[in-house]
C-alpha cells in the first residue's frame, strides 16, 4: 500500500527509446552523412597537427605564450610542458585528442556565440534556453555517450558530438552575460547616433562583451578536454584511451604518465586561451603614461 504505485509512472525511457528508433529509422542517412563529413574534418585536423614537426609546434606554442603574456619564462614553461607530453611518449595520442578538442570547440563557438546573442536579445529565448543549459551541465557526461553512440557508432565522431553537447553551455551563457552587461548608456549613445540592431551588435555589444565571451571559450575548451577523455569509452583514441587501457590492465605507472600528459595539455590550452581572454591591456597603460607626461 505504501509502495510507489505502478499507475503513477510514465514510461519516459520507452519514449526516449522510441524517439531514438524513429530518428535512426528515418534520419539515419543524414547522420551517416554528417558522420562521414565530421570524420574527414577530424582526420584533416589531426593530420595537419601531425604534419607539423613536433619541435616546430613546441617552439610555436612557446613563442605564442611569450607574446601573449610578455614574459619569456612563461613561454618557456608552456613549451616545456608540451615537450613533456612527447617525453612521456604520447605525442601522437595528444594530437588526436587535440584534434577532437579543436573541432568540437570550433563548432561550439560557431553555434554558441549566435545562440548567446539571441539569448541576450530576447527574454523569451533566455527563459527557454536557461533550463536546457542547466540540464546540459548537470547531466552526467556519460549520458551523452549513449545517443552519440547510437547516432554515429563508435569512434571519434560520436566523441566529438558528445563533447560538443557537454562543452557548449559556458560559451552560450557567457556570451549572453557579456552582452547583457554592456552599459546602458553606451548602447543609448550609439542608438542616438542612428545605430541599428547590427551596428549595435558589432560596434558595441560584441566588442564590449569580448572579455566575457573569451572566458566562455576558455571554459568550453577546458570542458571539451575533460569530455574527450570520457569519450575514449566509445572508442575515441588519444590520451583518454591510454588512461582507460591502463586502468583495465592495472598499469598504475602508465596511467599516471598518460594522466599527467592530459594535465599538461590542459594547462597549456588553459593558459593560452586565458591569455587571449585577458587581451593585451598594454595599450591603455601606455596611453595613460603618455597622458601624465603631456598633461
Amino acid at each position: 500500500m505504501l509502495e510507489y504505485p505502478e499507475w503513477l509512472r510514465i514510461p519516459l525511457a520507452e519514449w526516449v527509446d522510441a524517439v531514438m528508433d524513429w530518428i535512426l529509422a528515418n534520419l539515419g542517412g543524414v547522420f551517416d552523412w554528417i558522420g562521414d563529413v565530421g570524420l574527414q574534418v577530424l582526420l584533416a585536423v589531426e593530420h595537419a597537427l601531425l604534419f607539423v614537426p613536433w619541435f616546430v609546434l613546441v617552439i610555436a606554442v612557446g613563442a605564442l605564450a611569450w607574446r601573449l603574456i610578455g614574459k619569456w619564462t612563461f613561454g618557456l614553461g608552456m613549451a616545456v610542458m608540451l615537450l613533456l607530453v612527447g617525453v612521456f611518449g604520447y605525442w601522437v595520442e595528444a594530437m588526436t585528442t587535440l584534434s577532437v578538442v579543436i573541432v568540437s570547440v570550433a563548432i561550439a563557438v560557431g553555434i554558441g556565440i549566435p545562440a548567446g546573442i539571441l539569448m541576450a536579445w530576447s527574454n523569451p529565448v533566455k527563459r527557454v534556453l536557461t533550463p536546457i543549459l542547466d540540464a546540459m551541465q548537470t547531466m552526467p557526461s556519460f549520458v551523452y555517450l549513449i545517443p552519440a553512440l547510437m547516432l554515429f557508432g563508435l569512434g571519434r565522431v560520436p566523441a566529438t558530438f558528445a563533447t560538443l553537447i557537454y562543452a557548449i553551455p559556458p560559451v552560450i551563457r557567457l556570451t549572453d552575460v557579456g552582452i547583457r552587461e554592456v552599459p546602458g548608456d553606451t548602447i543609448e549613445a550609439a542608438k542616438a547616433f542612428g545605430a541599428n540592431r547590427w551596428n549595435l551588435l558589432f560596434d558595441v555589444q560584441l566588442p564590449l562583451a569580448r572579455p566575457s565571451i573569451m572566458v566562455g571559450i576558455n571554459q568550453t575548451t577546458m570542458m571539451a578536454l575533460a569530455m574527450v577523455v570520457i569519450g575514449s569509452m566509445i572508442g575515441n583514441r588519444g590520451l583518454g584511451m591510454e588512461v582507460l587501457l591502463a586502468i583495465n590492465r592495472v598499469q598504475i605507472g602508465k596511467g599516471f604518465e598518460a594522466g599527467l600528459a592530459i594535465v599538461f595539455l590542459a594547462i597549456v590550452i588553459d593558459r593560452i586561451t586565458n591569455a587571449f581572454a585577458k587581451g593585451r591591456p598594454a595599450k591603455v597603460t601606455d596611453a595613460g603614461e603618455k597622458t601624465t607626461l603631456k598633461g
Binding site: 553606451t186 542616438a192 547616433f193 596611453a287
Partner: protein, 425 residues
Amino acid sequence: MSRETEAGEDRLESDIATADARASGGDVAVQVEGLWKIFGRNADRVFNSDLRQLSKTELQAKTGNIVALRDVSFEVKSGELFVLMGLSGSGKSTLIRTLIRLIEPTAGTVRIDGADVLSMPPRDLLEFRRHSISMVFQNYGLLPHHTVLQNAAYGLKLRGDDKDSREERARATLETVGLSGWEEYSPAALSGGMQQRVGLARALATDPDILLMDEPFSGLDPLIRRQLQDEFIDLQDQIGKTIVFVTHDLHEALKLGDRIAIMRDGEIVQVAEPEEILSNPHDDYVRAFTQDAPVARVYSASTVMEDPDVLLYRWQGPRAAHTELARAKHDWAFMVDKKHRYLGICTHDLVDGLIEKKVKSIDENDLDRPEPVSPDVLIEDLFGLVSAESYPLPVTDDQGRLLGVIRPRAVLEALHTPEEEGSDA
C-alpha cells in the same frame, strides 16, 4: 575654443544680446505639443482613462504607473539655447530622450524642423538620428575600445561616410574642442572633462541641425565644469546651433540658457528668459529654486577680482624688488615668472635678508605661497578662504597665470549687497 578670461558679467550681457537677436527673428526648430509619458504596464489604458488626471503620487499608489511627462508643450526657436531645468525625477531627462525616441512617449507630438518625429517609420528615424540631430550624454557614452578619433567619427561612420572623409571631419571637430594630438588615445586615458569634449566632438561632427545635451557637464568637478561651460559659450557663439540643454544646476541654466523651462513632476512650470525667472518667478516652486541662488552662489571669483597694486617679476634681483616695494610703500607683493605664472608672495623682510647676504637672485622656494583659486570658484566658497588668509587670494587660470587678486573686503561686500545686485540685473 579660445581661453578668454573676460569677466562673467560682460559675458552674460553679450550673451543676452545675441540671444535676443536670435530669438526675435528665428523660426521654430523644435515644437512639442501635449507630450505624455507614462511608465509601467498598460500605459495606454491609463492615458486613455480618467486616471491620468490623478497626481503623480496618487497614480503610482493606485496602479503602479509613473507619470514622467504630463502634457508638456514648448517651442524652441532656431539657434536658441533652450534649457530644461528641474530636480532629479522632474522628467527633464525623459523629455529630452523622447525628442529622438530613445524613450517612446505615450501621447503627443514632436516636430523637429517640421518633421513629425513620432510618426516616423524605423528607417526614417535612423536617418533622422544620423543626419539631423545629435546628443551629448552625462556619462559620455563613448566606445571604450575605439580611439578618440574613431569615437568622434562614429556618427559619420553610421551614416555611411567613407573612412578618409569621416576621419578628416572628425579631426577638424576634435580641433575645435581642443583635443588636437589626442586622436589616437583610448578614451580611458582621458580625464572626464576631456572625455566629454570627445562626446561633444562626436555630436558636432555630423553637423546636426539640433543638439541635445543631457547634463553634459554635471559629472565633472566644478572647475572643469565652469571651464567647459565658458568654452561652450564661445563655441555656441560661433556655430549658433539650436540646443536643448538639460541641467539641474540653476547657475548653469542662468549662465547658458537663452530661455529656461523649469520642470516639476513631469510638467513645465515656467518658461522664460533667465532674467524673468529670477525677477518674476511663476510660483513658489520656481521661487524656491531662485532663492537658492543668492549672488554668492551665482557669481564667481572673477567678478570680485582686482588687479594687484604691485607686481614683482622673478628675474628682478632683490635690489630691484626692494626699490619697487619701497616705491609702492608695500611690505609684500605677488611675484610672477616670465609667462606671468604665479610663484608666491615676496616680502620686504625676505628681500632685505637676501641683500644682506649679498644673494643676487630670488629663489622662488623662499616665497610664501598661499594656494591660488580659479576665477570660476563661487564667491560663497571664497568666504572661508579669505578670512583665513592674511594676504589677498591670488586668482590663477588653468595654466597657473596670475589673473588678479581677491581682497577680503571685496568678498564681504559681495555677500552683503544681494538686493542691489538683484535689482541691477
